[in-house]
């Protein structure tokens, strides 16, 4: 990174409102991001309006002898293995998948940010301790760690969200620590410190707001990862306690077993997951580009 760039970044960070306005402008010019917003918008809309949109109760079994029936005019996506309307389950599933994503990321983000901020701001022994702990966590493949945590807590929707969230802690902690370290030596922080502003206030009022943009990018991408990881756990049989929960990952859990009996049941939740995850990835990617000062002005 050249000196000029460093300066440019510092200037931008001092003027966040400009940064954001600028980012938004560039985000709008990025067709990928637009597609992302459309997909996520649809996803959220479906989640909110599921009861209005769904033609059937997603948990109601409509006669077991009809199980695995393919798509028809009365059931656009067919019936699942327990003769429930697949379309209604997909629509309601948006709620759970959104919930799963948000809660997992909230867990990882809040703990990760706290640890990262503390490590970055206090430095010294606390910093090493926290960061070594993060190193330990990072040395275990994330998905394997999630499986391990679910084994410890037992299966369940909440337990899965916690497990996936925990695996994201070190990423956020590292990210924020890096940002805080970079900010700590900034002029405006040094200025604030020299006029005797308390440490906590400096951290909360000056450092964090400026360190947050990479966190937003990472958060969006983490939402995508969380939804995928939960689906993966479901595939290994570690799903919610109530198997009638219309959660996309859980609905995919038996994809392998029933692929030849009812292939339509694999396609629908699979496509739903891919589209929503793609949406978050597109937005995250667009944000990254929009907020990256190096790419400005191109």
């Amino acid at each position: 990174m050249s000196v000029a760039e460093l300066e440019a970044r510092a200037v931008e960070l001092e003027a966040p409102s400009g940064l954001w306005r600028d980012a938004w402008r560039r985000l709008r010019g990025n067709p990928g991001a637009i597609v992302g917003f459309v997909l996520v918008g649809l996803f959220v809309l479906v989640a909110l309006l599921a009861p209005v949109l769904a033609p059937y109760d997603p948990r109601e079994q409509l006669g077991l002898s009809n199980a695995f029936d393919g798509p028809s005019t009365s059931h656009l996506l067919g019936l699942d293995g327990l003769a429930r309307d697949e379309l209604s389950r997909i629509l309601y599933g948006a709620r759970f998948s959104l919930l799963v994503g948000i809660v997992s990321v909230a867990v990882g983000l809040s703990i990760g940010l706290l640890l990262g901020a503390v490590a970055g701001y206090l430095g010294g022994f606390v910093d090493s301790l926290i960061m070594r702990a993060m190193d330990v966590m990072l040395s275990i493949p994330g998905f394997l760690m999630a499986i391990g945590i679910v084994a410890l807590l037992g299966p369940g929707l909440f337990e899965i969200m916690v497990a996936v969230g925990v695996t994201q802690i070190p990423i956020f902690a590292r990210l924020l620590r890096g940002s805080v370290l970079a900010q700590r030596e900034n002029d405006f922080v040094l200025a604030a410190r020299s006029v005797g502003v308390p440490r906590r206030t400096i951290l909360a009022a000056h450092i964090l707001p400026n360190a947050i943009s990479p966190v937003i990018v990472q958060g969006t991408l983490a939402l995508a990862t969380a939804i995928i990881d939960v689906a993966g756990l479901g595939f290994l049989g570690l799903g919610p306690q109530d198997p009638s929960t219309p959660e996309w990952g859980t609905m995919l859990a038996d994809v392998n077993r029933y692929f030849q009996t009812g292939p339509h049941l694999a396609i629908a939740p699979g496509v739903a997951i891919v589209l929503s995850v793609l949406g978050f990835n597109l937005i995250g990617d667009g944000l990254r580009e929009a907020l990256d000062p190096k790419l400005r002005g191109r």
């Binding site: 330990v136 499986i147 410890l152 995928i228 290994l236 793609l278």
Partner: protein, 334 residues
């Protein structure tokens, strides 16, 4: 340089100690134990006590931990509770299987990802750029097991082009001195075995490679964009060097630097993905081994396997840092 390596190696020690304690406590906190898992429906308190005594699980945890540390320092991780074989021996088979799969996946993603990223960067802002970006993002958006099942179903079951499971057809006999089947086939000069084992690799490698493919494509794109605007590239162009030569000599070569780094950083991701890929393709590697071990409460396998994996992981990261330093003389290792 040497100092850097030594320092990094020393840093490994606290990580490994921390990790071993974490893993050890985690295993002991799991509900049930290997005895219950082994006995299943027949488990009685007496039978459980008998087996726990056998594995030394009735001793205090610090004693167990010390015993574990002492033994693993000599690379003795004990015997698997389910197969009754030494963990180290199973590791010797499982690890090469996963490495081979991961390497094939990486090869696939590099061969496809770099051109994809390069083209996207050359056509920055055009439809091609956006399309390739979206396509590469699709790669990270598909649950890996879902992709694996679709691939397997269409190419292996429906079309019958490729095998559905395993690493080698059972009707082919070949020695396995290294347990890297591709290597084994080459060493024994068995063309048929080589062809067969390569066929077995295709689908799992594509499924597992989908994520690094997307990441490599994006990093390449970003790196090429960066370097294109560097002074030396502009100079090269200005003095009338053919665009193809500029691209090859300057742009691509320098863009490889961040790409190399990112390849190393994919190791963790590949191992995570391997868990699911191995499950779908019945690939006898580390991922499925460890997941089964969690389910069976196979303490020795968990202890040895996870520790080994973490060690490899950390060492690979070290190698990445080193190679980065070697490739980029501007970086000083302090």
């Amino acid at each position: 340089m040497l100092r850097f390596v030594v320092r990094r190696l020393l840093l490994l020690v606290p990580i490994l100690i921390g990790l071993s304690i974490l893993v050890f406590l985690w295993i002991r906190a799991l509900p049930g134990g290997p005895a219950q898992a082994l006995l299943g429906e027949r488990s009685t308190p007496e039978a459980v006590a008998q087996i726990e005594h056998q594995y030394g699980l009735d001793k205090p945890i610090p004693v167990q931990y010390w015993r574990f540390v002492k033994k693993s320092a000599q690379f003795d991780f004990g015997d698997s509770t389910t197969t009754r074989r030494p963990v180290i021996e199973e590791l010797g088979q499982r690890f090469p299987a996963t490495v081979e799969l991961a390497a094939a996946a990486m090869l696939f993603s590099v061969l496809l990802g770099i051109p994809l990223g390069f083209i996207a960067a050359k056509r920055y802002g055009t439809a091609i750029d956006h399309a390739s970006l979206v396509a590469s993002l699709l790669g990270v958006s598909v649950p890996i097991f879902f992709l694996a099942i679709l691939l397997k179903y269409f190419f292996a079951v429906e079309l019958g082009l490729l095998p559905t499971v395993g690493r080698l057809s059972v009707l082919i006999d070949v020695e396995h001195p290294t347990n890297f089947y591709v290597l084994d086939a080459i060493l024994s000069a068995n063309i048929e075995a080589l062809w067969d084992t390569l066929k077995h690799l295709v689908l799992p490698a594509i499924a597992l490679g989908s994520i690094p493919l997307a990441i490599i494509a994006r990093i390449t794109r970003a790196a090429v964009l960066d370097i294109q605007n560097e002074d030396y590239v502009r100079t090269a162009r200005a003095k009338g060097l053919a665009p193809g030569i500029v691209d090859r000599r300057h742009v691509l070569r320098n863009a490889m630097l961040p790409v190399t780094t990112i390849i190393g950083l994919q190791v963790g991701l590949l191992l995570s993905g391997a868990v699911l890929t191995e499950k779908v393709f019945a690939w006898p590697g580390m991922g499925s081994w460890l997941v089964d071990a969690i389910q069976d409460r196979n303490f020795p396998v968990l202890q040895g396997g996870i520790l080994f994996l973490a060690l490899v992981f950390v060492l690979v990261n070290l190698l990445v840092d080193l190679s980065y330093a070697v490739l980029n003389p501007r970086i000083r290792l302090s």
